[in-house]
Symmetry: D2
Subunit: 487 residues, 4 copies
């Protein structure tokens, strides 16, 4: 990617289906609907009751699973996984589902989330002579399951999860079971659906919609659902915790047509926009969303403020993975291949620009310049959530804290940096109101507060730093290669 978009990113989407004659195709469609949660790699593991076959590849679902390959995946139970390209780990070996054999038989697992104490446990396991074939924290789970003294598979899994801290929504496949698990804090979403007699697990309800499945309920925080020939069994083996579901799923990650955490994403964003208009009004001529992240909030802002909405920035629908940049750089090239301003909408106007967040600030800066050079007389930037000052350790790909512009600049300083007439963020209270959690008892808001519900051990920080270093090196390398490519 020559153009890094300046967003937080969900790391993964998961899907599972039990007892369906076209399990592979359903997994394929489920992943296709969840594609926005990860475009780097995708995989499907399937069982016919005899053995598990697991196929993974780099790229998007529809590119990896052509007809031939999909047809070769025979079976009636399957899990699937899409993965976002987190820095430093863009290799096939880190694609999921992960498949292993052990004395409990064949297991495949797909993981959305991040286990904060995985590096410590991994280090201990390594000391005992355990070998690892991926850099993924998910592999730790499988070792724990294999090593557990419990005789029942599910008990072994509970044993393993009891030790692991952090965020996880798992789908796990054996020859005769599909298991869904969600951490006690409920960080990442996972819902249960039903299509005829087949149970389904999915990160978001939009995956159910595509295959005509009905939404049953969410997997509860701390719940394991074991789906087998006997039906769905629910286990709640862990001490209850205050729920901490990721509010950013509502702010940006999930698709607007999904429901997550029992809230409709579209409505939540619309409410954020309305609330933002109440908290941060401005005299202006037009409300312009940054597509597509600011789209729904902009509608809410427009409705509440009475200022008409206008699509002053048009998104190119054919954005591919790579562009070849000319040697002599074009102004705002990275932003321009994605967005183009509509001069007739912006010229001479006082613009309220709406986006969901400012991360590092550089992309926002370019967009604002583009809007100004299209003739906007004023640009008032409104953000539909509070300033992001903390990194996430629960399954979201965020820059290090030092890179987050709001961690080292005040709001006026940010406004100056990105060159706007005014800048305002939605308040945390406003955000919680918009997401129907006025008490703040359901959502994790640690990226706004640095108040982390599950602490990150020091060792994990070290590993994170290494990852970030590797990521930076890779970026540097790509930049250098880009320079070469430009010549």
């Amino acid at each position: 990617m020559i153009t890094q978009d300046d967003k937080f990113h969900d790391e993964c989407g998961v899907f599972g289906i039990f007892d369906h004659p076209e399990a592979a195709k359903m997994a394929y469609l489920g992943l296709y609907a969840l594609q926005h949660r990860g475009q780097e790699s995708a995989g499907i593991a399937i069982t016919d009751g005899e053995k598990i076959v697991c196929e993974r590849g780099m790229g998007q679902v529809a590119d990896i699973f052509r007809k031939d390959r999909l047809d070769s995946l025979r079976g009636h139970c399957a899990i699937g996984h899409v993965r976002y390209s987190t820095a430093g780990g863009s290799q096939l070996k880190n694609a999921q589902p992960i498949y292993v054999e052990c004395h409990r038989g064949e297991i495949a697992i797909g993981h959305n989330g991040n286990l904060v104490n995985a590096p410590i446990i991994r280090s201990e396991l390594e000391k005992e002579g355990t070998i690892f074939t991926t850099t993924s924290d998910t592999e730790v789970v499988l070792h724990m399951v294999a090593k557990s003294r419990q005789s029942r598979f599910v008990d072994a899994l509970v044993d393993a999860l009891a030790v692991l801290k952090g965020a996880y929504s798992f789908v796990l496949l054996t020859k005769d079971m599909l298991i869904g698990a969600r951490d006690p804090w409920g960080f990442r979403p996972l819902c249960i659906g039903k299509l005829g007699g087949s149970f389904i697990l999915a990160s978001e309800t939009c995956a159910l919609d595509l295959i005509d499945a009905d939404y049953v309920r969410d997997v509860k925080p701390g719940e394991l659902v074991i789906i087998s020939e006997k039906g769905l069994e629910s286990v709640m083996p862990f001490p209850q915790q205050r729920q901490h579901s990721c509010i950013f799923e509502l702010v940006y990650f999930s698709r607007p047509d999904s429901n997550v955490f029992q809230r409709n994403v579209y409505s939540s964003r619309y409410n954020m926009g309305r609330q933002l208009a109440r908290e941060a009004p401005v005299e202006a001529d037009i409300v312009v969303p940054v597509p597509d992240s600011g789209l729904v909030a902009a509608l809410g802002y427009s409705a509440e403020s009475g200022i008409p909405i206008g699509f002053g920035l048009i998104r190119n629908h054919y954005v591919g993975r790579t562009f070849i940049e000319p040697k002599k750089s074009i102004r705002h090239f990275g932003v321009k291949v994605k967005l183009n301003p509509v001069r007739s909408i912006l010229h001479g106007k006082r613009v309220v620009l709406i986006d969901d967040s400012i991360v590092r600030g550089n992309t926002s800066q370019k967009i604002v310049k583009m809007v100004r050079s299209a003739g906007a007389s004023e640009v008032h930037f409104r953000i539909s959530c509070p300033p992001t000052i903390g990194s996430c350790y629960y399954g979201i790909d965020t820059p290090t804290e030092e890179e987050l512009i709001a961690s080292y600049k005040t709001v006026p300083e940010i406004a100056e940096f990105i060159g706007v007439s005014s800048l305002q963020y939605l308040s945390l209270e406003g955000l919680l109101t918009a997401t129907e959690d006025p008490e703040g008892s359901i959502f994790c808001t640690s990226c706004y507060t640095k108040d982390y519900p599950v602490p990150m051990p020091k060792e994990s920080f070290e590993q994170l730093k290494l990852f970030h270093k590797a990521a930076e090196e890779q970026e540097e390398r790509e930049k250098r290669e880009l320079v070469v490519a430009r010549n």
Copy 2:
């Protein structure tokens, strides 16, 4: 494609650049910006003043022209072309630019439009012993140029164009010239831009925007612009005609951030929406656009009517070229892989659904069903142009007249067929008002009136029928293969 979208389609986009050190990369970016005008094939022809090299491929620009291939295209003048997959002709041999050698040297040409008398002339040329290597009408032009008795290249081109009737916006490349030509009726757009000292030709201004070029002016109807070392020379060799620019460019084809025919596309569509609200008001709770074709008009309708806008249909951004459909069909599958309804927006609401057109009616029917099954209490369908009752012979891929639902059903009948509470179209007067042509003296509106400015000869109809037959056969074949593929 297993899912045929029910739209009229532009057949092509063209681009040209003269005297730029990175001509190939500029052509690549220009085509990338024009990608919405054709995704089936793309090509670039380039000259270094010594020889012309022409590379074409099936697919999208960014997939065809990887770095290596683009780097091999050395030269300072180039033309490019993107092509829509018209039925029956989806083969590499029909990709453009077309390249030939003749006694006038090497020539490459890219064509947007359709020459109505090409089949007659082709038939005559064939009788004289001329051979053809494509099924494209564009090839006729080159034969005429080669056979002309004129000694100057431009005179030969004028000779050829004088005989040809119909719609064309050409870009033509020789070793030392870039020529742009637009038919006397001005059916298809073509504009002139400038980047430093380099002249540019492009179907839409959005191609200029991406490469930071300035818009100079449109090529005039009937004008040839000859760009060479001596600069830009303009020739107007043909008797003047009443202008007939394709109004559908404003209704649907062109990108909203483009200007075509000296009008801004976004503003035109917004005005269509406003006018539609005036002409066809309704008591309702929410205005919902069919994305993305109804987006801008819906804004206008909402603004004028005061009914709030809501994105009740969410578009999947990862729509690929192929999906693998399950054996047991999913309801509305073809529409569902592209769109998903947002129940919270639609449930219990009286919805005004806005789209740009209804062609065959089947897709509209499915969308309406989806909206209803998401709980809408009423669905009022509003279309931002008049009923399309006539096929286009001027470079737009349309079904035959018999397939156009409005040609054989009244508006109430259509309403019944697609299952809406009410259906209203924008009037022709309203459309002309919205596009700033109240006298109706600039635009071609023949798809609404069947009043064709350049008649289609009988022979061409015959050929068209053959094409449609071939297209139908191909569709049948694909359907059969799909059935096989489902098993």
Copy 3:
């Protein structure tokens, strides 16, 4: 190719089949058997009696025609073509069969040979306003056919061929005919086979063998065979000529298991080896063939001389199209990736090295160095044909005369250049004896004598020079790119 092998090369192989339910697969297998005649591009044109479909691609037959693509080629009559990469023309547009439409309907043609007066006729046709889409001389034939005043297709083809001079073995396909044609001199081979009721045309009999077809007879020099529903009709429309079949087909091009020109290739080569032993005996310990070109002649030499044969040079069977060469060059790398000496066979031995020819001399030089560094005490080089002093203008890719080492060095000088203890060539008389043409009345031997049966017009020389210049430039460019690639 980073390693240019120093050989003359056949430019093409052709195949045709009439009225077979699996015509495409048969053409595929036929081309597969003829693959040694051309590895740059391949193509198949097929008809179902209604229309002709033509598919071509760069590379080898089995890579271009995967199952899907082959299955899409439906019909019962087909022609196929494989093409060697002649310098300067390595582009898809020059791949064959060439397909055109004209007033005579659809035509596809595959050509093995070279028309010496094509440039003159092309130039005349261009003056009359004809356009060309390839740089191939074959296209001229099609224009001539299209322009002929004759009403019958075959008469038009005879008209065209009457004007064209040079070497050709054509296969030509219309909707209802398969035509084979061979020039009056019989330069290139073409035989007729039969498989059940289906007629077959092929460059060599090995193509018949693979599909279990029976050899019927050769197409005669100057004969046209018209295969249609009515069976096979033979026409001999041209004045008879003294036959001049290419003797190099027997020396090197054709597969040893083929019969061409009514001679078995293996036996001819074996006889060349025996004759060589008689003409050029030497005291030695072992006869070593340069694989695979010298293999059969070496057997003959060994048998006649009584010196045992040994495979002192082993060929790598996995030679791909590209190798990545290390930055720091390896001695004899280009030869070494193909051949490795067997020290135990060569060490301390007086070696008779047998090959079919020395073209530029550089490869021979490297091979001899390799043999010497493996310990051979003497290397006596024996060549199974006379010194090649003249370029070929009849369908063989040869260097220009100036590059042929035998055109500017005496045999002793060549011996010195390549570093052998002794060097001897087979005499022309010996070669003719070995090929059963002691009178020299059947074969073209112009590459040994410069006595050209069909003169090359001056204009064609000019064009040839241009091609060679382009080829050299391309080689230079590839070398430069290789240098870059090494860094």
Copy 4:
């Protein structure tokens, strides 16, 4: 592969290089030279002293490692591996080198051979909670190394190898060491080379030849060579065993230009042919090798018998991975795409046909039929080693014993089955004489004697049976798919 060749197959080739500026390219070339030892998958692991990167792919070396990919492999020490497609295991997950992380750091390993007690140890490890990600026995080694209590890496490796029984030639890479290891019986070859100051390990000397490296010596049976900055250290930690090097390396597997087990392969095969002529003479007109397996032995037979050699079977050099077979089968199709008889050589002749072995007998039968139908009056089949009656458990892919024709038929019965005039095998004594081991003290000959030097535990047999079952199922499936593909 639609055509299974009826041969024993080596399972792998390995290569290693320490401290070379172009380690990746050298590994690439080394693998390219060893390509005949495995064409299913290939891989390279490389270290720059900081980390190990490991890239693997399905297919041949030159297809997997294009320039870009090879350039991305930066470092100065590397190992490489090519793998043969053993039944039931044709998946990327089984490609090597295998890469893991453990408390000893990163390790990559490439393995040629088979550990007979791996299934038992794996089963024990699984019981202890160890997970496996491949079905390869090689993974067991890494777990043992990781679990060893020894502090030094090499001691841990010795610990692991002490427990493992069977055949192995390993190359193993850490960040600062290249280790080569060969089992105490010396089943599989492994030699040491030197290129300037860089040490090299390779399965065969032909890999040294290609990169201009000098042969130093073989790794001794039971030896570990540890190559590091300190140079090459040799360790012989295991009790000495009677050597049992695989005689089939000389009979068929290794390249004739290689030396393995301190014997030249070409000379050994030539001696087998001579010995065979002494043991099994026959009155005949011509000696014909089955290419390429019988080539060198045929030379020996011809030399000793005085019967001239003739290449009556010509091999197609363009045999690709797949062929598309016609629906209506062609006689001997599977053999014919590879070999074509030369009628002029065979017709009316008494033929001595030479091959290295008969495995199942079906391919030999087809070849004999082909030779007979080309007109041979008698076909005397001579095999350059004894009848193969036992499966191999030491790293060779062989059918189960029941499938070996010689295990259930007498020589006369085999002769009848394959349809020859006479059949004779080389005696075991003759083979040992030809390979300079008249005492039979160096080679493993268990496939001829079923006298296994390292017994195969029962559990391993079970696993082997499962593999064979899986392989058969896969073959069945492929056959079925082929049938489908034919329609």
